[in-house]
Amino acid sequence: MNYAYYPGCSAKGSSADYEKSTQAVCAVLGMNLVEIPGWNCCGSTPAHAVDTELSAALCSRNLDIAAQQGVEKLLTPCPSCLSNLRHTAKRMENPQFRARVDELLDNPAAPDFPGVTSVMQGMAAHCDANGIASFIRKDLGQLTLAPYYGCLMSRPADIMDFGDPENPTLMECLLAACGAKVLDFPLKTACCGASYGIPERTMTARLSARILRLATDMKADAIVAACPLCQMNLDLRQPQAAKEADAIFAMPVLYFTQIMGLAFGLSPDTLGLEKLRVSASALLDKLEPAPSISKTPVEGGQSCE
């Protein structure tokens, strides 16, 4: 089944591994992600921090392309892109705002935009927990994982429509369906410091350290992320965080798609695991071949949606 897809800029740069694993896992699930043509940057935080209309213009161009293609639902892996696109769709309902944004665009934006949702929700809508379980080739039963959504994915609740804004559970559902032990990770929606790693490094280091510290204390084998920026802060910047916290961290930070890929028996290479700064080799050692392909329904067994 084809899905219109907006990868976001980091997919083509710092989070190539997220992109790679997303594509691989979706392929296993029978989801064919088709990039909308000629998409541009959503503007990320800088655009809306500078001007809401500028941000909306950048997003509207993408939504407009999707609308021209007749797309009904657009998937994106990046929560920041998702947030910007969804905020824009909401703000464009205001005619005055829309008129101001249209002034910035080559052509006035389409009157109706397609819905935008996360790849994670897209997967859950595509197949239920049993469906996911049927693809499992490796036993993740030895892995204890700390799911981490970051602050953007679930809020504001009315815009993001991602379950309880304090306590989203979709990733838990997917990871559990993959057979892993999932922690009730209290800081799952705490902020990692976002893009302030560059202009205000201490802040990002302190915030990331807090998350890494808790995951370490809760004896997680890995933090599982859903956001390129969060992953970068927690993984690439882990030494900065460790220095700030005066601690030693050795916490692998994987994308949820990488974990799912491992469960599906995909090779580390296919999942881009070599891009991780903190090696996931300890995780790989804990994987065992699934004794037999589980046909018994997963507990709950119902849809993750």
């Binding site: 309880d164 304090e166 209290p186 808790l214 995951a215 370490t216 204390d217």
Partner: protein, 652 residues
């Protein structure tokens, strides 16, 4: 008709901006007006005497006073004209103070407006008829719904006053929330020790009939003559036989039954008596957990019961009581705080409610009065109290203050120090609200003598730190900084809400309730115990947040209302009720459908269906009058013709 008009100066209150003499002069030209005057203070004794004198002298059969609001002095002047021999309803008022002199400064406009208001009053009065109250018998018996401390107090006061009481309690024991408390503020008295004797008095008083495990099914009738159908839920134990020995509970194999009385801090047996001082001290089976019901076999309790009281086949039964008044004292419940996901939403075992903490403090509680963490049974060293959880929070639709949390939090912090001298307590608060006798002194003691740290700010989140403790993320707004505390235990001062089925009961009682389910008093300030339904009174938190002394006081107040009501052998109704002109009535029943009080019934006159007003139930709203197309129902003293006369006086 001979009408007298009195245009009051009210000192300068009216005369300052209204030419009262001129108004009186104009009034003399209105139809049927034979006398007009402008006294200085009409309501004062000489003013009233002048009215009486004028009635006699000019043979008046109707009086209009133009002065302040009828809401102020209508009753006063009605008594005045009555003293002079007129029917009290042959009197009208024109409000030329609140509605004229106080809201405009132009004398000419005000004078003109005042004269018109007098004209309206005269027009209405010309259509007035003398009305007389009807008398009826009363059943001198009180029904009290809810056996918490407010209901208990009301029951004892009524019974002491010689009025028989029916006390209906939903749970298997009376005592309510107070029975669950360890100590009470500000004296740190043992709650059970002061409530227990009152509960025993209820059990032993010959004038009180107690139905526990019972609820109100149906209410009909009116003040003085209510008929209340009560559902007695099946307890599966014949209480006539049960001696409360507790043998059944000792032997019951279902030991994992959630302990409602202990706020789920522990477990109990499927057959049990909630606590040692329970009244009535009778066992009840929780059918959801009893093996006899869930598995179809067990029967242990039936075997061990020395009295042979167990009856697994018991069904709900009904009893109907005739009473003269009803006191609602249904109390409150804690709101469902688990919507606060930022405090763990109920997932963290050591984040508990204040009422659960109360059970941990209590010697009769699941831990025997030792403060230990539910998660691992260890004594906590650092305890954080968070106030206003579910109070003053608009984001969850609870803007109101729950009133007593500040005080019990201070009490709990003090008791914590008593139990665990090495412990440290922190209280996050927004404001400390302690407006009671010795209350603020008490909360200051918590700080000054017990070293409780009060931190001014709300808590944003609580989460486990992975090492067995909890991180409490708060703010100290006085410091202007975020603060963090590693706590072993977190106690939430959870806000209150009305009992779950309070709205359903209100519908049965035909009393109003606010959007939070609290019952509405008749007047916020002046009738805090009465409701809009005559003969239904309120006591305790069901009317709004209040602490134990206030609940007890209101319980006594409600009892006083009941005793006052029953001080007379006959009751009089307010004659401003609807009347049906049976000739005009076509029996369509539209009035019956709309009447908010069920005050209109169907009757048969010469084989034709007709509407009939029960005058004692009718509250005089007049909805029926504006509903009846034939004008067959007319509200006395606000008839179509009376209002039309007013409209016609204005619009011609």
């Amino acid at each position: 008709m001979r009408i007298g008009v009195f245009v009051c100066h009210c000192g300068s209150n009216i005369a300052g901006t209204v030419d009262c003499a001129k108004v009186a002069e104009i009034a003399k030209n209105f139809p049927d007006v034979v006398y007009a005057d402008d006294p200085m203070y009409t309501c004062a004794e000489p003013g009233q005497a002048a009215i009486e004198a004028a009635i006699h002298e000019h043979k008046l059969d109707g009086v209009v006073v133009a002065s302040c609001s009828p809401r102020m002095h209508e009753a006063t002047f009605r008594r005045t004209v009555e003293r002079a021999g007129l029917n009290r309803y042959m009197f009208e008022m024109a409000n030329i103070r609140e509605h004229v002199s106080w809201i405009g400064k132009e004398q000419q406009a005000n004078t003109n407006k005042s004269a018109e208001l007098v004209e309206i009053a005269v027009a209405k009065l010309r259509n007035n008829r003398p009305l007389a109250a009807k008398t009826f018998d009363v059943t001198k018996k009180t029904l009290i719904v809810g056996g918490g401390v407010a209901g208990i107090q009301a029951a004892l006061d009524c019974a002491e006053g010689g009025i028989p009481v029916i006390l209906v309690e939903r749970e298997s024991t009376i005592g309510g929330k107070m029975a669950k408390l360890d100590k009470t503020f500000p004296t740190v008295d043992c709650s059970a020790c002061i409530l227990g004797p009152k509960m025993v008095d209820v059990a032993q008083h010959p004038g009180i009939t107690l139905y526990a495990c019972a609820e109100i099914e149906e209410v009909s009738g009116y003040v003085g003559n209510f008929s209340v159908k009560i559902r007695k839920r099946a307890t599966y134990i014949d209480w006539e036989k049960c001696t409360g020995c507790g043998a059944c509970s000792e032997k019951c194999p279902s030991k994992k039954t959630p302990d409602v009385f202990n706020e789920f801090t522990g477990t109990t047996t499927a057959i049990n008596i909630p606590f040692p001082q329970a009244i009535p001290k009778k066992a009840v089976i929780n059918a959801q957990y009893c093996r006899q019901f869930t598995k179809g076999k067990c029967g242990v309790c039936a075997k061990v019961c020395p009295a042979g009281a167990i009856d697994y086949a018991m069904q709900d039964s009904f009893v109907t009581e005739e009473v003269g008044c009803i006191i609602a004292a249904t109390g409150y419940e804690l709101m469902d705080w688990t919507i606060y996901q930022e405090y763990g939403g109920g997932r963290y075992p050591d984040v508990i409610t204040s009422l659960q903490y109360e059970r941990l403090l209590s010697a009769s509680g699941p831990t025997g009065g030792h403060i230990v963490r539910p998660s691992d049974g260890r004594e906590p060293q650092t305890i954080v109290f968070i106030q206003c959880v579910g109070s003053r929070d608009n984001s969850i639709g609870r803007p109101y203050c729950s009133g007593f949390c500040c005080m019990y939090t201070a009490k709990q912090a003090i008791l914590t120090k008593d139990h665990l001298p090495q412990s440290r307590s922190y209280v996050f608060y927004m404001d400390i609200r302690t407006p009671g006798k010795m209350y603020d002194e008490f909360s200051r003691r918590a700080v000054e003598e017990y070293g409780v740290e009060y931190i001014r700010g709300r808590v944003s989140a609580v989460y486990p730190d992975g090492l067995g403790r909890y991180v409490v993320m708060g703010a100290d707004t006085l410091l202007g900084e975020p603060v963090e505390i590693r706590a072993d235990m977190v106690v939430l001062a959870v806000g209150i809400e009305a009992a779950k089925n309070a709205p359903a009961l209100a519908e049965k009682l035909r009393i109003s309730y606010d959007k939070y389910g609290f019952f509405m008093e008749s007047h916020v300030k002046l009738k805090p115990v009465e409701t809009n339904t005559a003969g239904v009174f309120l006591a305790g938190v069901c009317q709004g947040a209040k602490d134990i002394p206030a609940s007890v006081a209101q319980g006594s107040a409600a009892a006083a209302k009941a005793l006052a009501l029953f001080a007379r052998d006959k009751l009089e109704n307010d004659p401003q009720t609807a009347q049906v002109d049976a000739r005009r009535c076509v029996g369509c029943g539209k009035c019956i459908r709309c009447c908010p009080f069920g005050a209109i019934t169907e009757t048969e006159i010469r084989n034709e269906k007709k509407a009939q007003v029960i005058e004692t139930v009718c509250q005089g709203c007049g909805l029926c009058t504006s509903t009846c197309p034939q004008g067959a129902v007319q509200l006395s003293h606000a008839t179509d013709n009376q209002i039309l006369a007013e409209v016609n006086a204005l619009c011609r």
